[in-house]
């Protein structure tokens, strides 16, 4: 049974259901579980649900330690930039121990980190920084684009025995979607084909998936059949699904809210260029944020971002380079 839930509630539902199912799951962070009326506190008590001070190094470090001791902590960080305060714990502690101890310890923690809030939250609260966490061995990164995937990926992240960062886009917070009521798991490491097509592959991540889908409507009117893939998982990255699509279409456009060299798009493009070169009929197009700290003022802020117009233009460029045979 599915019913409509907003994206942010779907994430919460996953946390709640997993905490019910597994009493080693902990949930903590700043500004949560404040009173006995809080639903998490009511359901799970003050042992498993705790509010912390503004102490990201300790929050994430303690998650690592609690994981050593057999627990499965979920740390609510609110904004992904706050992980930067505790970069050591995220990149150089949590993902290292399973390997350094030859498997003696596991670090099954989840970092819940919002991103991309390009709604006037200005330079330090608006970044799309998942790129810097890709390629850290042992660290998984997921980016849901729908409410259902938000629940499914959070569930999978909690059940995963590795540290996982779940990046949820703040612009999608109230986006409603059909979300299964009961247990719902979306496997980590699997991309999703959101729309089938034959002329061009458009890969989107998080918020840009919706932009890509909107662009395909215009393209449809121009007689272009676009296939849209939602990457969903950035580490591990499902290059197989993307390569399979490019083999069919021969053309690739990747749309990413991050800036070019910090984007997942750049890595996806490198993978396709090296592993799928034979399939490509045209150069790969990257539609990313422009290289600047996100400005506060709205017209500038919006100017930086990928949008339907830019996506359509990129598709037109690849089609120009390699027109579809009549």
């Amino acid at each position: 049974m599915a019913r409509e839930l907003p994206y942010i509630a779907a994430i919460g539902e996953a946390v709640h259901q997993e905490m019910e199912r597994d009493d080693t799951v902990l949930y903590f962070g700043q500004n949560l579980g404040l009173t006995d009326d809080d639903p998490y506190v009511k359901a799970f008590g003050n042992d498993r649900v705790r509010v912390t001070p503004i102490s990201e190094t300790a929050e994430i470090g303690m998650a690592v330690g609690a994981a050593f001791a057999g627990y499965r902590p979920v740390v609510q960080l609110y904004m992904s930039e706050f992980m930067l305060v505790a970069m050591d714990q995220v990149v150089n502690e949590a993902p290292r121990f399973h390997a350094m101890t030859a498997g003696q310890v596991k670090v099954p923690l989840v970092l819940q980190a919002g991103y991309g809030f390009t709604a006037g939250w200005a330079g330090q609260h608006t970044g799309t920084i998942y790129g810097m966490f890709m390629g850290i061995p042992g660290l998984k990164v997921v980016v849901p684009s729908t409410a259902a995937d938000a629940k499914g990926l959070m569930t999978a992240a909690i059940r995963d025995d590795n540290p996982v960062i779940l990046f949820h886009n703040y612009l999608l917070t109230l986006e409603h979607g059909d979300v299964p009521e009961g247990e719902h798991v979306v496997p980590i490491g699997e991309a999703a084909v959101r729309r089938e097509g034959s002329d061009v592959t458009i890969v989107g991540i998080g918020w840009t998936v919706g932009k890509a889908l909107a662009a395909t409507e215009q393209l449809e009117g121009d007689g272009v059949s676009a296939e849209v893939i939602d990457a969903r998982s950035l580490a591990p990255l499902d290059t197989a699904t993307i390569l399979q699509s490019v083999e069919k279409t021969g053309r690739l456009v990747v749309v990413d809210q991050a800036t070019r060299h910090a984007s997942a798009a750049a890595i996806i493009a490198a993978e396709v260029a090296s592993e799928g070169f034979a399939s490509l009929k045209a150069p790969i197009e990257l539609v990313t944020a422009l290289d600047a700290t996100v400005p506060y003022s709205e017209p500038m802020e919006q100017y930086l971002l990928p949008d339907e117009t830019k996506i359509v233009a990129a598709v037109q460029r690849v089609l120009e380079a390699a027109p579809v045979a009549a």
Binding site: S55, T57, I60, A99, A102, P137, D161
Partner: protein
């Protein structure tokens, strides 16, 4: 029974562990001379800190846990980890306690409560508090010891963790081994409290927790202090900051040099950098291992022959550890990607 109320066997056990740790560390250091190239990268020795290590661990139950710093060899030795596996790990062998994946700075023996060791100063402190949170939830009275150096007490992780641990009354004891040096820097050069002659235990004031300073060269004093802190934690009253004054007899670590030049141990920074020979010689005179030996022989707990026998047994054990390490194979190269994901 001693003044501590400790039975003779316990005292002998403590002495034995101190001797074993010293012998192990000496053999690690010796490896640089005798078998250059076998130990790669960084290693850090705890010779001089034996009394603090053993006195602290003697206060624990078998189901307690601990995290330490990269200066970690001594703790698993006292906990009973296989010294052959420890040496093999330092030698990077597949028979190492972490199968060669971690090396000297990341010794781990989860079964004995010796949780993952971080190499980054201060970052193991929140790990210990997280494990203590787990212990609190389980409610079986387990305690976690968090060992770190004086250098770590300037890290944000120290401040953040002690605040939370105090607020949540976590069953953790913070043991700061103050050896007056953070790598090559003297503590007064980097610590505002030390700069005005205050003990670092005063930092506890900021966290509403007790802070106490103890002579880390006296295993019984350490045992008494840490036991009190452990009991406080076990009973749910929260953490304590124990400042244990030690002197490490070796330099911070082996010297890092370009490839081709053998790694070796330089002189202690007191001499090499600060020219303070008197300080170092005084520390040698106060060496906790012979000091404790003399105490036990004087008060009749041990005879000189028995003490010698313990030293001999330790030498034999560590001979075996070295031989085992040297004889063990290196891991197959393709094993490198074995433990990426759990």
């Amino acid at each position: 029974m001693s003044e501590n109320g400790l039975p003779k066997e316990r005292l002998i056990w403590m002495f034995t562990q101190m001797v074993r740790i010293r012998e192990f560390e000496e053999r690690v250091k010796g490896t640089f001379e005798e078998h250059p190239g076998v130990i790669r990268g960084h290693t850090h020795l705890a010779d001089g800190a034996e009394a603090s290590i053993v006195g602290s661990l003697a206060a624990l139950r078998p189901d307690d846990q601990l995290t330490t710093t990269y200066r970690c060899h001594g703790y698993p030795i006292a906990l009973g980890s296989d010294t052959k596996a420890l040496m093999a790990e330092i030698y990077g062998r597949e028979t190492g306690i972490c199968k060669g994946y971690g090396g000297s700075m990341h010794l781990t023996d989860v079964e004995r409560g010796f949780l993952g060791t971080s190499g980054i100063v201060g970052q193991g402190i929140p790990h210990a508090a997280g494990a203590a949170w787990g212990a609190q939830i389980r409610g079986k009275g387990q305690v976690v010891l968090s060992f770190f150096g004086d250098g770590a007490s300037k890290q944000g992780a120290f401040h953040e963790t002690l605040n939370i641990a105090s607020l949540w009354k976590l069953p953790v004891v913070f043991v700061m081994e103050n050896n007056n040096y953070q790598a090559y820097t003297r503590v007064e050069q980097e610590d505002a409290n030390a700069a005005v002659g205050e003990p670092l235990a005063v930092k506890a004031k900021a966290f509403s927790m007790p802070g106490v300073t103890v002579d880390g060269g006296d295993p019984l004093a350490v045992h008494k202090t840490v036991s009190e802190a452990v009991e406080r934690a076990r009973s749910g009253d929260g953490p304590t900051l124990v400042e244990s004054l030690v002197y490490r007899l070796s330099a911070h670590g082996n010297i890092i040099v370009p490839p081709g030049v053998p790694l070796h141990y330089p002189e202690h920074e007191a001499i090499a950098i600060f020219g303070n020979v008197e300080e170092y010689e005084a520390a040698q005179r106060g060496d906790p291992v012979p000091r404790f030996r003399a105490q036990l022989v004087t008060d009749g707990t041990l005879s000189a022959e028995e003490a010698d026998a313990i030293a001999e047994a330790a030498r034999a054990e560590m001979d075996e550890a070295v031989e085992f390490g040297l004889a063990s194979p290196l891991p197959a190269p393709e094993r490198a990607t074995d433990y990426v994901y759990a």
